[in-house]
């Protein structure tokens, strides 16, 4: 009842807004960062898999070098798999509305799949999981742009991964 009273009071003396989000508010959503992150995960898996064994009894310096590389590639893989999940969660939770879900009933399941694949990509050196993550994120992007009334095109991305990226037709 107190809330209703305050709503009535708003009509005469509007309450100031205390923002509690990105503080603009921006309304700016774009799955591009999630796609970039998925490509980065694939690139890191490729780099890890390209590392050559330093031999049976490598010198300390060789072991140090390879461990350093593995640590860095893994750290970036971790960061970008989680970033991919984070960007998808934000768009899924903040942007999509019930009317979008009616037209795209598989959306929740797709997001769940992205979350699981993102976690798997973190936990394992698994190229298949990383590629499936990118494919799921590309599908998510297609749905997103469709809800904005934009057609999309799939093209080979200009990155060393040489996998597909979804772009809106503008």
């Amino acid at each position: 009842m107190l809330h209703k009273l305050f709503q009535l009071l708003d009509k005469i003396f509007p309450a100031k807004i205390a923002y509690a989000h990105c503080d603009i508010p921006c309304g700016i959503y774009d799955p591009h960062l999630a796609q970039l992150a998925a490509h980065t995960v694939i690139r890191m898996v490729d780099l890890i898999n390209e590392l050559k064994s330093p031999g049976e009894n490598p010198a300390f310096e060789q072991r140090k070098e390879i461990m350093h590389k593995i640590n860095r590639y893994t750290a970036v893989k971790e960061e970008h798999a989680e970033l991919c999940k984070h960007e998808i969660r934000i768009i899924w939770g903040d942007y999509f509305k019930p009317e979008h879900l009616e037209k795209h009933p598989g959306l929740h399941e797709l997001v769940f799949k992205i979350m699981k694949l993102g976690s798997k990509a973190r936990q394992e050196i698994n190229l298949q999981a990383a590629e499936e993550l990118l494919e799921a994120v590309n599908k998510f992007s297609e749905i997103f742009w469709k809800t904005k009334g934009k057609d999309t095109v799939r093209m080979k991305a200009p990155y060393p991964t040489e996998r597909e990226m979804v772009y809106p037709k503008v």
Binding site: H3, K16, A18, A20, I90
Partner: protein, 100 residues
Amino acid sequence: MLSVARFKIEDRSMEPTLKPGDYVIVNKLPYFFGKPSKGDIIVFKHPKIKNKFLVKRIIRVASNKYFVIGDNKTQSTDSRRFGPIAKDLIVGKMFIRIKK
């Protein structure tokens, strides 16, 4: 000048504590006679955007500056982005929440 002020919450960076549509009443008096403390939920002026108010929680006090963060950390722009805030930006301390 009143010692209390009414604000309406938009968006989600303070969830689950505050949700969009909630109202908060802030009290300006505690900070006339005392200092903001860790854990206080405050409304303050945006340090970079005029005429915009934010609501966050104080997580650290250092050298008369206040580090603020949203309870919903993954959806909050706060001191991690714009640094600590000065006391003169603080409007007041939340003391009542009216749930939507």
